[in-house]
Symmetry: C2
Subunit: 233 residues, 2 copies
């Protein structure tokens, strides 16, 4: 019987790709507003070059962008860009049926967790801004688990759950993993026997999947869990 | 004749002490909301201890606070605190007559600058959030000047202004420094011959001052500049 449900965050609980794109656009527009004297297209392409080279978690994208473009006295443009970027990132909203569905799952007695790649504080910050942090017992995050989501990551999650009073004796088949990515969410969870639900959102929505269930909309999770309860899963 | 006006930022252009206090309070309340299980008084006092020891620009106050209190798995509390802190800090507003006064000064042909201690990007970020960044020609900030505000800092400012087309030949008496602190704003500017206006705001409002002029309200700057123009200053 399903007792615990694990959720990915980005593009599962909220449209993170859309917000990241908008945040970059807003950052560039703020630099132009501050008088950097370059066009939006040039700035955007240069920024994407920086992101490709340094990864999306590098903290000084805009400093590097200004250096690359030979901008003198860059502080005002960096400040404008970072401010606009964060204003956008802090305005994140969940997919519309997420809060209601999480509440319904809690009411039915499921224990909810997050399984995510990234930095612990940054991932908690997202849950807090989405106003859904209180629904989750805990967050399993790669920074603290010592590795990105993989079969071994999910084995550690199961071991950890087995060491806690509320979930002692829990087996892989008592868990469900919900996520948008075959490589990071579905395949590794499935490999250790966890049930899997693939949500078709974000940039990976049309890639093939080996998930037990596929949904287009978050609230469909309830229906799947009901079917598992009545033995039809 | 006065041509250039230099402004301090914190507690001169906006009530920074008030916002810092509110940001700390909000951060602590967010940790409590997240379930840290400690009282507001205990948390506040521990936080102030951390700030006293590490200084206010140290980036990891809340990590250290959690470590000091022996909090296990602190990420969720750190995220809640940092989020609430930044939400408050990004909601800063100028003293009510500041934008109108800066606009009036620009219309009268004065060149406006900022002279401030701190990090360049952080200080620009404040001006941008206060929606007054466009009024200023430039920001002279200790991080980029290589020293905190002192007589030597202001000598460098004068030298820099003299090297720019719009302010070539400018003399100390053609400049006015506006700030709330005797030690950082008034005394060092006065020492190099810059005229000084002390604004009585924030936590230093009742300390003695050697300023040429003292005001309780930002808009009074206009009156003082008018009197200097007509030779009564």
């Amino acid at each position: 019987m399903v007792k615990a449900i694990l959720f990915d965050i980005d593009d599962t609980l909220f449209p993170s790709s859309e917000f990241a794109e908008l945040a970059r656009r807003n950052a560039i527009r703020a630099m132009i507003e501050m008088g950097i004297g370059r066009g939006e297209k040039e700035l955007y392409e240069a920024l994407m070059g920086v992101i490709r080279r340094k990864g999306s978690n590098y903290p000084n994208h805009f400093d590097l962008l200004c250096r690359k473009l030979g901008v003198k006295r860059p502080s005002r443009y960096v400040a404008a860009a970072v401010g606009a970027y964060h204003n956008t990132k802090t305005a994140i909203q969940p997919f519309p049926t997420v809060p209601r569905t999480l509440l319904a799952l809690r009411e039915k007695g499921y224990r909810l967790y997050v399984a995510t790649n990234g930095e612990a504080t940054k991932q908690w910050d997202k849950l807090i801004r989405l106003q859904i942090a209180l629904f989750f017992e805990d967050v399993f995050v790669s920074e603290e688990m010592g590795e990105e989501k993989s079969a071994s990551f999910f084995r550690k999650v199961l071991k950890d759950l087995n060491s806690r009073p509320g979930t002692r004796g829990i087996r892989p088949a008592d868990c469900v993993m919900v996520g948008d990515r075959e490589d990071a969410d579905i395949a590794p969870a499935k490999a250790v026997g966890i049930r899997t639900i693939r949500i078709r959102t974000g940039k990976y929505s049309s890639t093939p999947s080996s998930a037990d269930f596929r949904i287009g909309e978050f609230s469909e999770i309830e229906r799947i869990l009901n079917s598992l309860k009545t033995g039809k899963g």
